[in-house]
């Protein structure tokens, strides 16, 4: 079959070409099949916003996390819990240790049992989670017309396109379009699946006052609380990116060293010549 081609080299090149074309199209197909169609989503697709932490080596904006915590504490925490985020997580991220201790001490926590077997109340410590507004999910549903305000600890990863979605949702409230009937107890938001959300618009201009003096516009509030929720979803994010940078710096020299070592080992193999000289005297084929 290989006589069809002029030489072995042409055949080899053709084979390599075919193999790479097959691999590329296979990868392309796998990638295309892996893309979600979002066929079940009826919400608007959120715009892509320029988050600082989107860069390959970029950390969170920690001043923004601190402001976002203020927004969460004064607005969101009225209904939403964050039971997987602890006060100790704030230390060295958005608050000093003393500040975090003061934040924790503001909350009363049920602890116990004590020596008499009774539960008791004490001020919060660094090892406590952020306080939940309701004792359990059923109480939360009952207080919110049957709708459960989701726990926000991991919300940025629990929704498609997390950060952009949260920001769009928080700023996306407006009147329903003409002809759409208003639903009792629900609020129109095109970014929410189905268009009607139980949560009322929570962020308005100047709804809180930032301690660092940043103007508290609606979009600023939404951006900061989104950054805070993103941090809460992945607290190891900054360390990961630093490690990635170190990996990028270390691996090329190591690869180069391995290449040199491989060449060195293979000099013997490649310059060796093996010869087979049959002895002319023995023609019987016996061994």
């Amino acid at each position: 079959m290989f006589k069809l081609f002029k030489s072995k080299k042409v055949a080899k090149n053709l084979a390599i070409g075919l193999a790479s074309a097959t691999t590329a199209s296979g990868l392309g197909l796998a990638l295309a099949l892996n893309v979600d169609l979002f066929a079940s989503d009826h919400g608007c697709y959120p715009a892509k916003y320029p988050w600082f932490h989107d860069g390959l080596f970029n950390t969170y904006d920690h001043a923004s996390i601190r402001r976002g915590y203020e927004v969460y504490k004064q607005v969101c925490s009225a209904c939403h819990s964050m039971r997987y985020t602890y006060f100790r997580h704030l230390v060295g991220v958005s608050h000093t240790e003393d500040e975090a201790k003061a934040e924790a001490a503001e909350a009363m926590v049920t602890d116990g049992p004590n020596e008499e077997g009774n539960m008791y109340q004490r001020p919060g410590k660094l090892s406590d989670p952020l306080p939940s507004p309701y004792p359990n999910d059923e109480a939360a549903k009952a207080a919110n017309g049957g709708a459960l305000p989701p726990d926000l600890s991991l919300i940025a990863f629990a929704r498609n396109n997390g950060t952009n979605y949260i920001f769009s949702l928080l700023t996306g409230y407006h009147d329903p379009p003409a002809g759409v009937e208003v639903k009792e107890g629900l609020h129109y938001n095109p970014y929410f699946n189905g268009g009607w959300i139980a949560m009322a618009k929570a962020l308005y201009d100047e709804v809180i006052e930032y301690t660092d003096g940043t103007p508290a516009t609606e979009s600023q509030l939404a951006k900061d609380v989104t950054e805070y929720l993103r941090w809460s979803s992945e607290k190891s994010h900054d360390e990961k990116k630093k490690l990635l940078l170190k990996t990028f710096l270390i691996f090329p020299p190591i690869l180069a060293l391995f290449y040199v070592y491989k060449r060195r080992v293979f000099t013997v193999m490649k310059s060796r010549k093996l010869m087979f000289n049959p002895t002319k005297s023995s023609g019987s084929g016996k061994h």
Partner: protein
Amino acid sequence: MALGGQIYTIFFKKSSTYFLTLCAGAFFFERFADGFSDSIFNSINKGKQWHDIKHLYGQPPEEEE
């Protein structure tokens, strides 16, 4: 190659000195690589990290490690 030969006899010829060279080299290389990548990382994220803003909240700014 005189220098290379000297380096070879001093550091690499004996197993004991070779081992010491490896250990010392690893120590200094690690210090250098860490410091270098940290400085790049901190310059990319200037003003965004906690140690850039903590002096605003009652902690004196530290010298970079």
